[in-house]
Amino acid sequence: MRIPPSASLLFIALGAVCARAGALTDHDLTQRFETKVRPLVNTYCTDCHSGKKPKGDLDLTQYQDLASVVDDYSEWAVALEKIASHDMPSEKAKKFPTDDEREELMAWIRDVRVAEARKHAGDPGVVLARRLNNAEYNYTIRDLTGVDLQPAREFPVDPANPMGFDNTGESLAMSPTLLNKYLQAARSVADCLVLKPHGIAFAPHPMLVETDRDKYCIDEIVSFYHRQPTDYADYFYAAWRYQHRAAAGQPHATLSEVAAATKVSPKYLATVWQLLDDAKEDVGPGAKLRTRWRALPATGSEAEIRAECAKLRDWVMDLRAKLEPRFPNITGVSGIPATAEPFLMWKNRQYATHRRTFDPDALQIGGKAKPVLIAMAKPKTSVAAADAVEEDAPSEAAPKRQGGDPDLFVPERNPDRYLAAFAHFCSVFPDAFYVQERGRNYLDKTKDKGRLLSAGFHNVMGYFRDDQPLSELVLDEKGRQELDSLWEDLDFVAAATKRTYVQFVFNESADAREIAKRAAERDVTKESQVRATMAAYLAKAQASHSAVAQQAIETHFTTVNATLRSIERARTEAEPQQLEAALAFAARAYRRPLTEAERADLVGFYRQTRQATGLGHEDAMRDLIVAILMSPDFCYRLDLSTGAGAVTMGAGGIPVQPLSDEALASRLSFFLWSSVPDAELAACARRGELHQPAVLMAQARRMLADPRSRALALEFGGNWLDFRRLEELNTVDRERFPTFTNALREAMFEEPVRLLSDVFSQNRSVLDLIYGHDTFVNAPLARHYGMPEPAGDAWVHVTDADRYDRGGLLPMAAFLTKNAPGLRTSPVKRGYWVVKRVLGEFIPPPPAAVPELPRDEAKTELPLRDMLARHRSEKSCAACHARFDSLGLVFEGYGPVGERRQVDLAGRPVDAHATFPHDVASGEGLAGLRDYIRGHRENDFVDNLCRKLLAYALNRSLILPDDATIDDMRSKLAANGYRFQTLVDCIVTSPQFLNRRAGAAPADSLVDAGDGR
C-alpha cells in the first residue's frame, strides 16, 4: 500500500530540519528507535497490529531496526498521519499515549524521512524506459509529419501510475496486441508519405490512389492562393494609410512598413501607390480612380475607410471585367474538334498571358455609341468551314448595354493618351490574379463550380496554371519559388501531365489511339510516341492550312513532352534526396543524431526492401518510415548513456551521470509539449549549450509560450484534476437536462484546459487557479453560465467571472458535472475531488458496505445535506466524511450539470453553508471555500501542485530524496509571487531532471515516498 504523508505534516517536518540538522545521524535515529520508539509502539500499538491477523494488515512487530522502517516508509507515513489526527490508537484501545509521547513518536517518524531524504539528496531515481503514451504518440507524429494524423486514436487507454500520470514506465506496458496496433499506426502514417522533388512530406490523408494525390497537390496550391493578399480594397486602404501617415502620427512610416502593418504585399502596394500618386497621367480610368481615392476623408475610422475602399475595388473589378480580352476557339481543322486538348490549352494560354492587357474593341472611341457587352459570351463550338480562326460571337441571350459607358469612353481626338492610360491601368489591375476553378464553358463563370485548377476539358482530367499576374505583381522571389514548386508537385507527386496525356490518348484522340492501341501506358508517354501523335495532329492542321492550329499543336505536345521528360529525370534525381530526408526524419524521431552505423543500417534496410521484396522506390520508402516508427528508439523514451557526462558518486553512494544535451532536450520537450524537440531546441542541444541553467530556463520559457504547451495543460492538468476523459461522460440524463449537449460537454472539457494553459503560458500565479476571478468560455458554455455569449466559435477570456459565481478551477462545470451522479448533486464526490485532487489529501477507500444515497434528488424526502449528516453520524463513516463532505456542500448552489440554482430538483431552497473540517472555520458557497483554503489549506494546494508537477516531469513516482527539490520549489514559488514559471525553472534545473542514475541501483534507494495518491 502506498499512502502519503499529509502535506502539512511534511511542511512542518521540513521546517524542523534546520533546527535539528545536526542530530539526524543513523546512530541517533537508531538509538531513539531502541530507547523510545519501540517501547511506545509495543505499549500502544502492537496489541492490535501484530499476530496472524493484524489490524489493517499492518504487523508492527516486523520492524526491528531503522533499516526495516526505511524500507517500508510508506506504512510509517500513514501511521504518522493517523497518529497526528488522533485516529490512532483507535477508540477501542485500552491505553492512550500522552501528548508528549505522541509527539516523540511523530518527531521520530518525520526525522527518519528527513534524514533519508538528505542522505540521498540529488538522487535522480530510477526512471524506467517508457514507451510513448497515446497522447505523446499523437503529438509526436503531429510534430514529425506536420499533420495531425492522430494515429493512436484507436489504441487502448493508457493506464496511470499511482500518482495519476500515464507517462511512466511503471504503468506503460507493451503487449503483442498493442504492438500490432503500433504496426497499423506506423503503416497509416507511412500511407500519408509524399515523395517530393527535394525530400519528403506528409499529407493529411492517405496518398494511395490518384484521387488522393490530386487532392493533396490541388489543396496545397489553392490554399497558397488563398493566403495571398489580392483584394484591391486592402491596397487602396494601405495607400490611404500611407498618404495620411503624418495625420496618424507616423510621419516617418515607409510604404513597406504600412504594407506590413496592413498585411498586403509591399511589392504590389508600391505598384498601386505609384499609379495613385502619379498625377501626370490625367486621363482614363487610372485618373478617375485617383480622383475618387483622393476624395477619401483624411480622418475616419478604419471600418469607414475600408468600406469606401471596397466601393473603389468594386468599380475597378467591374470595369476590368468589361475590358477583358477574349480569344477565339481554334476551329476549321478537319478531323480535330475545337475542344481538342491542344486547342483548349492554346486558348487557356492566350487568356493566361493576357490578363494584364485589355480589349481595345471594348472601348467606345468618339461619339458613336457602341454596344458594350457586359455578360460573358459563350464560346462557340461549331466548326466554321473556311476560316481557321473564328471570333466568339456574343450569345443571343447575353444582355447588351446600348449607348455609351462613360468609363469606356475615349474622345476621338488624341485617343493614344487614353489607350496608354487604359493599358497602364489594366497592367496594374489584372482581370484576375489567378484562376482557381474553370468549368467546361469557362467563359461562363457561373457554371461547373468546384473544378479546382481545371483546364476546362470535357470529361477527362486536365489542369492548367493561370496565375501569371499573381507571380508578377504580388509575390516576392520566395513566394514565386514556393508557388512554382507547388505546381511542380502536381506533376511530380500526382503525375498530372502524364495521366492527363494517357487519358487523352485513350479517351479523346483517335489518332493517338491508332498509334498506341492497347499498349501499356509507359509506352504511350515515350518521346517517340508523343512525337508520332503530334505528327498525326500536325498533318491534319497542315491539310487544313491552319497556322494557328499548327502552332497550338506543336506547343502543346512539346510542352507535354518536356514535362514528361523533366519529371522522369527529377524522379530519378530525387531518390537519394528523399532517402536522405528519411534519415533526417529518423534523427528527429529518435530525438538524437544517428550514428554512422544506424545510417548504414537504415539505408541497408531500404535497399534490401527494394531488392528482396522487389518493391519500388515509393513502397520501400514507406516501409522505411514504418521501420523507423516501429524502432524502440522512436517509440520508447530511453535515457541512454551515450554522450552523457562522467559518472560521479552522489550522496549515499548512488552513481549519477549527467544527461547528454540531446537527452535533456527530449526530456524538456516531452515535459512541456508531450512531444519531440523542435528545431531550435535541437540546435541548442547540438551546440552543447542546453545544460547551462540560463539556456535551459530560457528554452523552457520559450516553450511554455508556444501553443504546443497546451499539451501540458491537457495531459498534466487532465490527469492531475481527472478530467482527461470527460468526453466519455454519459451519466447525465439528457431528458432532464436538455441543455447538456455534446457541444456543451466539449466546452466543459475545454474550459480548464484554457485556464491552465493561460496560467502556464502567461506565467501567472498558480494561486489564480483557486482564487482567480477569470475563466474562458465559448457560446455554449457562456449560455450555460448565464454570461454574454461570444460570437461564432470564439473562446473569450472572462475577467469578471465572479459576477456569475465562476472563476478559477473550483466552480468549473466540468468538475461539478463529473462529480455528480446524474440526477442529483454529490457533495461527497465534489468534496472528495477538492481534497484529493486539488489539495492532495489522502483518503482511504470506503469500506465495502456503504449505504447508498438515492439516485434522484427530486424523489428524496430530506435534502441531501441532511442525509449526509445522518451518514456522518455513523462512527465508521464519520472519520473520513468529516474530512471532505463540507468542501462539497459549499457547491450545493450548483446543480448536477454545474448550473447555478436556487432550489434543488425537489424544489427545496439550496443551502451552501458548511463548517469545514476540524471546525476551524465555516463559510458559504465558493467564497467560503476559497476563504477556508486561503486560511488553512493553501500550503496543501501548493505542496500538492509541486509534487504532481515534479512527478509528471520526471516520469516516475516521487522518492524521499525528492523532498529537497519540493522544498526548493515551494520556497522559490512563495518568493516569486507564485509564478508558474518558477516551478518549471526549479524542476528543469533540479539534479533529478538533469541526471540519470548510472549502473544498477542500490536497493535501499528504491524507497518511494509514499506519494501514491
Binding site: 524506459a129 461547373d448 473544378r451 470529361n459
Partner: protein
C-alpha cells in the same frame, strides 16, 4: 491486325506461352485445400474444426454431424459500365426450364446455380446526372457529392470485408481491368465515381489493382505479411542490441517490447507455415489442384488475357481462402476499352450509345462470360458436399440498363452461387412492377449481407430486405 477467331477461346495457348515468358518472381503453384483449416487458422480451435470437418465428411456431410457449415462464404462483385443490350438480356422460367437470352447464354452450363434479377434500381443514382452520377453509389446507395470534394459511401463489399476480412490474408481483393480516370464529367461529378466501384469510406475509394502480377503477389506471396516481417526482423535486431546496452531496470521494459515483437512475428510466421503444411498435405492426398503461375509484370496486351487472369486470381483466392471478398471492375463507366477481337470498331462508351446493336451485344456477352468463367471455375472445386461456388455469391451488374438513354430506372443483376444453401438458385426474378419501395438494389444488398452473417438494419436507402429472394 488480330485475326478473327472465337474470342472466348485461345486462352490456354496464351497461358502456356506465358509460363515461359515470365520475368522475375517465383513460380508458385498453389494447391486447392479442401478441408484444411486455412480459415480460422490463427484460432486455437482450428485443429478441432478441421477434425470435425473430416469427421463430418466421412459421416455424410456437415449438416448430418450437427455442426454449422465450416466453409466460409465468399462474395464477389463483377461490374461492367454503360449498361447492356436490353434485347438479349433476359431469363424466363426456372430450374431446368430456365431459358436465357443470348447475352446470358455463357451461363447456361450452370443455370441451376444462378439467379437473374430484373427490375431492381438504385434510387439515389436516379436523376442526378448521367454516368458518374449513376455509378459512384452503385454499391453503397449513398448520396454523392459534386465538385472537388469527393463524398460517397462505404460499399457492400467493403462492409462485408470489414466483418470477415480479419480472418484472411487480405480483407478483400479490389481488381480492375481498366485504369481509373480523374477529372470532371460534364455533370460536374468527379470521374473518380466512374472509375471505382469499391469505397472503403465516404471520401476514399479502395485503390484498384490493375496489374495481375501485383494482385497475385498480394495474395500468394503474402506481400503485406512479408513486408511486415522484414520490418519486424529489423526492429527485433535493434531491440536485442538495446537490451544489451541498457540498465537492468530498462532491460525489463525493452524485453517486454522484444517479446511483443517476437509474438507478432510468430503469428505472421505461423500463418505462412500453416499455409505450406496445408499445401503439402493436399498434394499428398493427390487431390485435384487448380494452380496458376505468377502472371508476367505489366499490363496484358490483350483484354481477354487481362480479364481471365483477374478471374483466375479471384478463383485462386477463394479456393485457398486468402480472401472472401472480391470486386472486379471489368470495364469502368465511360469505359475506353476496345474490342478488336469482337470485330467491334468503336470503343466501349461510344458503342454503348448504340446499345441494341450486335456489337454492343457482343461486348455485353464478353463481360458476362467472365462471370460465367469464374463461376464455372469455382464450381469445379469440390468443397464438402458441394463446390466453392455453392458457398459463394458472385454478383454481376452494370450501372444502367440502356447506354443510349442512360436509363437506370432498372439495372441488370445476375447472381451465381447459393451462399452455403442460404440462397435458392435457378430462378428468374422480376421486381419491375413490385413498386419502387420493393425493388431497391440496397434491399438486395441487405438480403445478401444477411446471408454472409452481416446483419444491418439499414444500408444505403433501404431498411427492408428484398422480398422473395
Amino acid at each position: 491486325m488480330i485475326p478473327p477467331h472465337d474470342p472466348f477461346e485461345a486462352y490456354q495457348y496464351r497461358m502456356s506461352r506465358r509460363r515461359f515468358l515470365q520475368g522475375v518472381g517465383v513460380t508458385m503453384a498453389l494447391p486447392w485445400l479442401e478441408s484444411l483449416p486455412v480459415w480460422g487458422q490463427s484460432t486455437p480451435s482450428a485443429a478441432s474444426v478441421a477434425a470435425a470437418t473430416e469427421a463430418a465428411a466421412s459421416t455424410g456431410g456437415a449438416a448430418a454431424a450437427g455442426i454449422a457449415s465450416p466453409f466460409p462464404k465468399r462474395f464477389a462483385v463483377l461490374f461492367m459500365g454503360n449498361g447492356i443490350n436490353g434485347n438479349h438480356w433476359w431469363a424466363k422460367g426456372s430450374g431446368a426450364d430456365l431459358r436465357l437470352g443470348k447475352s446470358l447464354e455463357p451461363l447456361a452450363p450452370i443455370k441451376s446455380k444462378i439467379n437473374v434479377i430484373n427490375g431492381l434500381f438504385n434510387k439515389p443514382a436516379v436523376g442526378i446526372g448521367i454516368h458518374p452520377g449513376q455509378t459512384g453509389q452503385l454499391l453503397s446507395g449513398s448520396a454523392i457529392q459534386r465538385g472537388a470534394t469527393i463524398r460517397a459511401g462505404i460499399t457492400i463489399d467493403q462492409v462485408i470485408a470489414n466483418h470477415v476480412g480479419q480472418e484472411t490474408v487480405q480483407p478483400s481483393l479490389v481488381l480492375a481491368c481498366e485504369q481509373p480516370m480523374t477529372g470532371y464529367h460534364e455533370t460536374n461529378f468527379s470521374m473518380a465515381y466512374s472509375s471505382h466501384i469499391s469505397w472503403q469510406s465516404a471520401d476514399s475509394p479502395v485503390p484498384n489493382e490493375v496489374y495481375p502480377a501485383l494482385a497475385f503477389d498480394s495474395l500468394f506471396e503474402n506481400r503485406g505479411a512479408l513486408r511486415n516481417q522484414s520490418v519486424l526482423d529489423r526492429v527485433m535486431d535493434r531491440a536485442k542490441t538495446l537490451s544489451r546496452q541498457v540498465s537492468a531496470a530498462d532491460k525489463g521494459k525493452i524485453d517486454e517490447y522484444l517479446t511483443s515483437v517476437r509474438e507478432v512475428e510468430k503469428r505472421v510466421e505461423r500463418m505462412r507455415a500453416e499455409q505450406t503444411t496445408a499445401e503439402e498435405k493436399a498434394k499428398d492426398k493427390g487431390r485435384y489442384i487448380f494452380s496458376m503461375d505468377r502472371p508476367a509484370n505489366g499490363l496484358p496486351e490483350d483484354l481477354r488475357d487481362h480479364t481471365r487472369l483477374m478471374c483466375d486470381i479471384v478463383a485462386l483466392a477463394f479456393q485457398t481462402d486468402k480472401t472472401r471478398v472480391a470486386s472486379l471492375l471489368l470495364a469502368r463507366d465511360l469505359s475506353s476499352l476496345y474490342y478488336p477481337f469482337l470485330g467491334v470498331k468503336e470503343g466501349h462508351h461510344s458503342a454503348s450509345h448504340n446499345d441494341l446493336s450486335d456489337g454492343y451485344e457482343k461486348i455485353s456477352r464478353f463481360h458476362l462470360s467472365q462471370m460465367a468463367y469464374l463461376a464455372q471455375k469455382l464450381d469445379a472445386m469440390p468443397e464438402g458436399d458441394g463446390t466453392v461456388l455453392d458457398h459463394s455469391c458472385l454478383m454481376f451488374l452494370s450501372n444502367m440498363w440502356s447506354g443510349w438513354k442512360h436509363d437506370n430506372m432498372k439495372i441488370p443483376v445476375v447472381l451465381a452461387g447459393g451462399l452455403g444453401g442460404t440462397l435458392q438458385t435457378g430462378r428468374a426474378l422480376d421486381y419491375l412492377h413490385a413498386g419502387d419501395d420493393n425493388r431497391k438494389l440496397c434491399s438486395l444488398y441487405l438480403a445478401l449481407m444477411d446471408r454472409v452473417g452481416v446483419k444491418l438494419d439499414h444500408f444505403g436507402d433501404a431498411d427492408e430486405r428484398l422480398a422473395n429472394l
